[in-house]
Symmetry: C2
Subunit: 182 residues, 2 copies
């Protein structure tokens, strides 16, 4: 799939999935997209656990009880590490987010749909429970959960605010200020 | 450019740029890629300021004194807002990071190179100085600076740790555990 098409077609899917597996070939391609994501100081702080064992998916669906998780062909858990890599700064949150976006674009291009589950993992100890199930070591956190499957009823990308409210040229509030070249 | 090719070709460029402008058509396409990026609860907390006025670029290059900034055809400043959107959580950091990755992939596909400047902005009040120059309103922060230009001497993507150290199946440390389907 062409890049700009993938950027445009990626969307949050919260419905059920068809009973159609995600092949290890596809999962590897998706994980490799995540691995290629940039990270602060190339510290590569994000690690991925792909879950395609139906029993493990069922266990995680008890913790995060949603159709997309329950019916997923696979789950990608993006595991975050927040050690300082530049002065006293960690870029672990950013690294993990960017890796998830790469994963999302890759699975979109391969015909799957997903949703980024993150806030829900930070409530009711869900991240810790998933971490314990998957053997995530101390100091790392199961930060983002992305179900993968072929959507039962494909959705559409949500609207965005108009360009003029999200982007400016040369100064905040200036739609066409400065020295535009065409 | 094909998605997986763009993911593979994106890299951090820290050198100088050719004297070749970035057209407003290209900049709009790059900004639209950033706007399409996902955000927690679709709160769209990232705003972009594209700088292609040579005088403004020169002023920013005084604050962030690097060849990629000084010689850039344009700069994209990703401005972050960190208001709570889900329970007491903000996803502003993640939103801004993901938007920057979309920007980076788009500019790669259009033949430009860039680098993600972030940590440096958090030192010596640089983010505040850039924010003041661009008129960024209180409560928002110039978080990520991305120069754009045609590289004088193209570089290559940096290596990644082997797949087996970054990704597991079904359990941490397990390269091929569980129920792989091919």
């Amino acid at each position: 799939m062409e890049l700009f098409e993938a950027l445009a077609q990626r969307y949050s899917y919260r419905g059920g999935y068809r009973r159609q597996p995600a092949s290890r070939t596809d999962l590897r391609k998706i994980l490799e997209a995540g691995i290629r994501a940039p990270s602060g100081c190339n510290a590569q702080t994000t690690t991925f656990v792909a879950v395609d064992d139906p029993e493990m998916i069922a266990k995680i669906a008890v913790i995060v009880d949603r159709p997309t998780v329950r019916e997923a062909a696979a789950l990608i858990v993006c595991v975050m590490e927040t050690r300082a890599v530049y002065h006293d700064m960690s870029f672990g949150v950013e690294d993990c987010a960017v890796a998830a976006e790469n994963v999302w674009l890759a699975l979109t291009a391969l015909g799957y749909a997903s949703v980024w589950l993150d806030g829900a993992l930070r409530l009711e100890g869900r991240a810790e429970k998933i971490g314990a199930l998957l053997g995530v070591p101390p100091g790392s956190t199961a930060r983002i959960l992305m179900p993968i499957g072929v959507p039962a009823e494909p959705g559409v990308p949500r609207d965005r605010l108009p360009f003029e409210q999200r982007a400016f040229f040369n100064h905040w509030g200036s739609a066409a200020g400065g020295s535009g070249k065409d």
